[in-house]
């Protein structure tokens, strides 16, 4: 069976507003991704889009986007769980022999209230009437995390945020590039205790596109492919039966198991060089360290405080600045994948992780609320 590689990428820099219609926004980024390897629309076999109707304000929003992304008269589809699920499907299409070249793309340009979208995404009989949105669920999650784990404190949440804000200042393609110290984060107002405003992500607008190729096409079209060595996906139940279990991020653990098994990874800290982790609120990054096998349960605070996961540490996590700096709701998985590809290729427009060969990316739709969310994990290897 063929391997699958990422052979080209393009990114519209994340920003507050994009004064383009959805179709124009995705057209430009898709065109640039094709140009990157000298391809025309006719050369690609299929288009996979990711995004959610509620974030775009129309039903079947992929209908608006797949043709400007090169899909006319071709096979096209769309996944609503995020970018890594789109890559997960495109990889299956290539590895089942259905396609050799696939354009995976996504865009964010519609303005919406992320709290309102989260509120209508809750179970309708008992949860929606309470008006809960993702921030309330993240507050509950962070509280159970603090209660079940004596090794972490609110100041660790602030330190994680400060670490990522500092990293973002070194990334030309991050959205929010203002440094905030841990003290400043701790002094920002509570949004939903124990979460403070600087520990919670804000929406960004932008666009992303990747060209995925079979091994044969990858070798033909580029000298610098990035290989997808493993993918994994997982979900979690909606109802809160055991809050403490939530903070272990079971969906992420399941996704990790599958991705590591496929990539042959047994000791992630030794075998991977850096990670780009979906961290919609800063405690989630800490929870993800043990969930991804970077340390044992309860040791994540040490990993943070020892500076291991700083951009200049032994094992950088979110050297791009992470989700607090850039939060493309439809495109975040593809954005983090592109950041990782750029770091593996030594692209100076993003953060530098010298000598990195192997990377991990995660993405989730936890911003709709923690209950029933999806997680995706990707293991990438550069050509070096």
């Amino acid at each position: 069976m063929t391997s699958t590689a990422i052979i080209s990428h393009a990114l519209t820099p994340p920003q507050d507003n994009i004064a383009l219609r959805n179709d124009e926004n995705i057209f430009r980024v898709s065109r640039r991704a094709l140009n990157g390897v000298g391809l025309e629309r006719d050369d690609i076999d299929a288009v996979v889009n990711c995004g959610m109707d509620a974030y775009d304000g129309i039903t079947i929003s992929s209908g608006l986007k797949v043709c400007p992304a090169g899909g006319y008269d071709k096979s096209s589809t769309r996944l609503q769980n995020g970018g890594l699920y789109a890559i997960h499907q495109a990889k299956a299409m290539i590895e089942s022999g259905k396609a050799d070249l696939i354009l995976v793309s996504s865009e964010d340009s519609t303005q919406f209230d992320d709290k309102a979208v989260s509120a209508i995404s809750q179970e309708p009989y008992m949860s929606q009437p309470l008006g809960w949105n993702h921030l309330h669920y993240f507050g509950v999650l962070a509280n159970s995390y603090l209660e079940s784990n004596a090794e972490v404190s609110e100041s660790d949440f602030a330190l994680t945020a400060a670490k990522n804000y500092e990293a973002a200042t070194r990334n030309e393609t991050a959205h929010r590039r203002t440094e905030h110290s841990a003290e400043e984060v701790l002094n920002s107002e509570y949004v939903c205790a124990p979460l403070r405003s600087l520990e919670v992500c804000q929406p960004s607008k932008g666009a992303t596109a990747l060209v995925l190729a079979s091994e044969e096409k990858a070798r033909e079209l580029t000298d610098d492919p990035v290989w997808i060595e493993g993918v994994g996906a997982g979900s979690t139940p909606y109802w809160y039966r055991e809050p403490d279990e939530r903070a272990r991020l079971p969906a992420l653990r399941k996704a990790r198991e599958d991705a590591y098994a496929e990539a042959g990874i047994e000791s992630p800290r030794d075998e991977l060089d850096f990670a780009e982790v979906h961290d919609p609120v800063s405690p989630v990054e800490l929870m993800s360290y043990p969930a991804l096998g970077f340390c044992d349960d309860g040791e994540e605070g040490d990993l943070l405080r020892d500076g291991v996961t700083r951009h200049d540490g032994d094992f950088p996590v979110n050297a791009s600045g992470g989700t607090l700096a850039t939060n493309l709701l439809n495109s975040d998985g593809l954005y983090k994948t592109i950041q990782s590809v750029m770091m593996l290729q030594g692209d100076e427009d993003t953060a530098s992780v010298p000598g990195a060969e192997r990377a991990l990316v995660t993405d989730s739709d936890q911003l709709l609320g923690d209950g029933g969310h999806s997680q995706g994990v990707l293991v990438l290897r550069g050509a070096a």
Binding site: C67, D365, G372
Partner: protein, 386 residues
């Protein structure tokens, strides 16, 4: 690439396939019953599932991304629940995704679940109309117009009549009498002709009803189908086609995008003479005039000869190609469930387990089609065989 098979098919109870206002059963129970029935049919325990694929129109469900709350899809096992949504083609896109995940050896058993979709919408038109391009077309186009444009063009091109459309509707209603999961059945050509006009030339009885009910299908590798009692049904070919979003760029040459798609899918499946080789078809026609265009796009007959093919009886249960033995989409749910159900119905026909609606002569090859997106922007087509 290895083969993908349909290992099990399950629906929610027949009485849930009724007017949405009459069905007081929660989305959780609907999902649980359809998934349970599909697992039982495949002789699998839920633990065996590697992934689930969910499809629906979020805007019609009353809850955005409602699959997150269902739990019957395997969330307690932490398996991936992929949400594939492309419009009325959602079930075809989801089934295609499941086949790819099995064929690429990523997963062995993948559940595909189609939600009832429209049963929670108080006024479905409000949400349906947002499928049209927001600036230029939405102000004056609704979902029913989308069906009427095709039908009007077909009448103009080939001289088809109101009566032709009513006759094919009546055939579907006749078939539906054998189907416990049909919402409505038994209407005659005259009944259809006498029903009120929705958007000319579409009449109420030539347009799909709003129904509840859900369907689950399990796509598996060879190992699962070797271990159950059902005849193995393979996925021989499956693909999707994409048209422009703005309809101003289109021409109404009936289902010409399906024509091109059928060429690709029939080539994958090694079908050279579709009319002779295909025994049974479930075609997605929420607006009944589509059935003629589908006959022609799938090469069951020449362009414009659809009404004649119907009158010859070739698409009846005992005909050369039985089309919509279930009664099709105008007899029952036209939501995303319906696009999953087209595949499930074909699998049951090929397994010889379609009950009273079983077509004559042990069918060996069947096709499942779906249509969706703004003004039929997408089609999917699958060839299944025994």
């Amino acid at each position: 690439m290895r083969d993908a098979y349909v290992s099990g098919v399950g629906n929610s109870a027949p009485e849930t396939f009724d007017d949405r206002r009459e069905v007081n059963i929660s989305k959780y129970e609907l999902a649980f019953s359809a998934v349970k029935n599909a697992l039982d049919h495949a002789e699998l325990h839920q633990d065996a599932l590697d992934a689930a694929i969910f499809t629906t129109a979020d805007g019609a469900e009353g809850t955005n991304r409602i699959e997150r709350t269902l739990e019957a899809l395997g969330q307690s096992l932490n398996i991936p629940v992929l949400t594939v949504w492309t419009g009325g083609t959602g079930g075809g896109s989801a089934f295609k995704a499941a086949a790819e995940l099995v064929q690429s050896e990523r997963y062995d058993d993948v559940l595909v679940y189609g939600s009832p979709t429209f049963d929670s919408a108080i006024e479905a038109q409000q949400f349906l109309n947002t499928a049209a391009p927001p600036l230029f077309e939405k102000p004056f186009i609704g979902a029913a117009h989308m069906g009427a444009f095709y039908a009007t063009a077909y009448m103009e091109e080939y001289g088809a009549t109101d009566e032709d459309f009513a006759r094919v509707a009546a055939k579907n209603y006749r078939h539906a009498e054998n189907n416990p999961w049909a919402h409505r059945s038994g209407f005659t050509t005259d009944d259809v002709l006498e029903s009120p006009m929705v958007v000319s030339p579409l009449r109420v009885l030539g347009t799909c009803p709003v129904t509840s009910g859900s369907t689950a299908v399990i796509v598996s590798s060879e190992e699962t189908v070797e271990n159950n009692d059902n005849d193995p049904v393979t996925v021989d070919g499956i693909d999707a086609s994409t048209n422009t979003f703005l309809t101003g760029y289109r021409t109404y040459e009936q289902f010409h995008k399906l024509d091109g798609l059928a060429d690709r899918v029939f080539e994958q499946a090694g079908i050279k003479d579709p009319y002779a080789e295909i025994d049974v078809a479930e075609l997605f026609n929420p607006y009944i005039p589509f059935e003629y265009m589908q006959y022609e796009a799938l090469d069951f007959c020449e362009p414009g000869e659809g009404p004649e093919l119907l009158r010859s009886g070739a698409t009846e249960l005992d005909g050369e190609v039985a089309v919509n033995p279930s009664g099709g989409v105008i007899s029952t749910n036209s939501g995303t469930q319906a696009s999953v159900a087209r595949h499930g119905e074909i699998a049951l026909q090929l397994m010889g387990q379609a009950g009273d609606r079983q077509v004559d002569g042990s069918p060996e090859v069947g096709v499942a089609h779906t249509w969706g997106g703004n003004d039929g922007q997408f089609h999917t087509l699958a060839v299944l065989s025994r």
